[in-house]
């Protein structure tokens, strides 16, 4: 896997990650955003967030099981795009749906469980986006950085709960994302167990012979 191919794949990845935006823009200009455009934009950006969170979480399991280590170079891209879409999703809710009705926002954030968990999922992604740079990894040190970035699991779980609690009756879609997340988490457990098994146990030192035995 040489650099040229990586760059080509990155171009493809950027285009794939931007597809929802292209679609929304196209539908906006062709007046095809459905009868309820604000709902459609909210749903599209929310789905994009969840899909990209799951793609980001899939990268390490896939590279551990296939040996395609270069995949790691795409993780920041997908993670930051997930953040991009959650920003769009939250801005649509705040700016277009509620239209900065701060009273309504305070009610939503205190009385509506599905909005509360969604908001938490969003907020937890902020420190991850802010520390996504190589500079931040160096400053924090790999160990601390890895620990902080485990928050993506919490975001993904809360995001799926947010979706599940929003739906009226048809839970098929959030259930599917939940199942995928469960598989990815299971894969992580398998990887962790394998790494523990490969590490040889510390060799038992022979007891020093006691004088006089």
């Amino acid at each position: 896997m040489n650099n040229r191919r990586i760059v080509a794949l990155k171009v493809a990845a950027w285009l794939a990650c931007l597809e929802p935006v292209f679609l929304l823009l196209y539908k906006y200009f062709t007046h095809d955003l459905t009868a309820n455009p604000i709902e459609f934009i909210t749903d599209t950006t929310g789905t994009a967030t969840l899909v990209l969170l799951l793609v980001t979480l899939a990268i390490t399991p896939v590279r551990k099981f296939t040996g395609l280590n270069w995949l790691i170079r795409f993780r920041r891209l997908t993670g930051l795009f997930a953040f991009f879409y959650v920003l769009l999703h939250f801005s649509t809710y705040l700016g277009l749906d509620i239209q900065f009705d701060w009273h309504q926002v305070s009610v939503d954030l205190t009385k509506r469980p599905f909005i509360i968990v969604g908001f938490i999922a969003f907020v937890l992604m902020i420190p991850l986006a802010v520390t996504s740079t190589a500079w931040a990894i160096r400053k924090m040190g790999g160990k601390k950085w890895n620990l902080l970035h485990k928050l993506i699991y919490v975001s993904a779980v809360f995001g799926i709960i947010h979706f599940w609690w929003k739906v009226k009756a048809d839970h098929a879609e959030p259930a599917t994302y939940g199942a995928i997340l469960a598989v990815l988490l299971l894969a992580r457990v398998v990887i962790w167990v394998r790494s523990r098994m490969k590490r040889p146990p510390a060799a038992k030192q022979p007891e020093p012979a006691l004088a006089g035995d």
Binding site: A8, D97, Q99, D170, A172
Partner: protein, 321 residues
Amino acid sequence: MLIKKSAGTPYSEITKKSDYLNRRSFLATAGIAGAGLAAAKLLPEMVSPPVAYAGTKLDYKKSDLSTHGEELTRLKDISTYNNFYEFGTDKGDPAAESTKFRTSPWTVSIEGHCNKPQKLDVADIIKLSSNGLEERVYRMRCVEGWSMVIPWIGIPLSAVIKAADPQPKAKYVAFETLYDPKQMPGQQRQVLEWPYVEGLRMDEAMNQLTILAVGMYGESLPNQDGAPIRLVVPWKYGFKGIKSIVKIKFVSGEPPTTWNRMASEEYGFYSNVNPNVDHPRWSQATERRIGEFSRRKTLMFNGYGDFVASMYSGMDLKKYY
């Protein structure tokens, strides 16, 4: 004095001449590959589902009971943004999946505690109203928080009830939708219990606003809007307006209703539009009128309090949600 010479670029880092000359073709290939990927994903999503209209022109009279001062929702929106889970749970599914739905021949069975039970087709039901078909412009408020203004064509439900001559023990009217999973693919999944059922208290059923609708905008109902005949109860949340009715039954006890069975703490039997009683998961204080940008305040009884509030005087509407 030692002057440090700069290291110079190692030979290995110098771009091969062939790569340098090929950079443009490489970028083009990468661009085309990426664009191809994006297009393959995007193009199917750009094509909107066809809109199914029934299209038979109807003969009707305007009614004094129509709501005035409201802009009508576009037929395009009324017929492509639907909750009709029998055809799928996405808003665009009913329009896409109901194009081949057979609405004729169609029989409605009128039965239960009445002296004149009968099975009628839609034309005979319309004849039960001495006034013929009327146009009733009504607001429709969905429990989800959006609303429309729809020019329904139909007859008062009271005309049908009178023709059936209900007995004294008939305290409620129950309704049932067609059950036909082959024609209604959404019924192949138990996302709701099928067939869809609804009900009204007798005074609500006899109220002058309650109609059986067979059309909108001067033509017969699009399939996705509940063809060939559906209930419209404008002061209640839209899910009370049961679609594609095959049975009207007079019963003595409060009948089961599908959304109440689905989530009894969220959807009550009465489900009167009420900005003061929130859905457990979201507020009912405002609504998005389809076609408008900003939200509106939701009106008590969807603005029809003058016609219906007296039926609920003395009732705790927080308890009987």
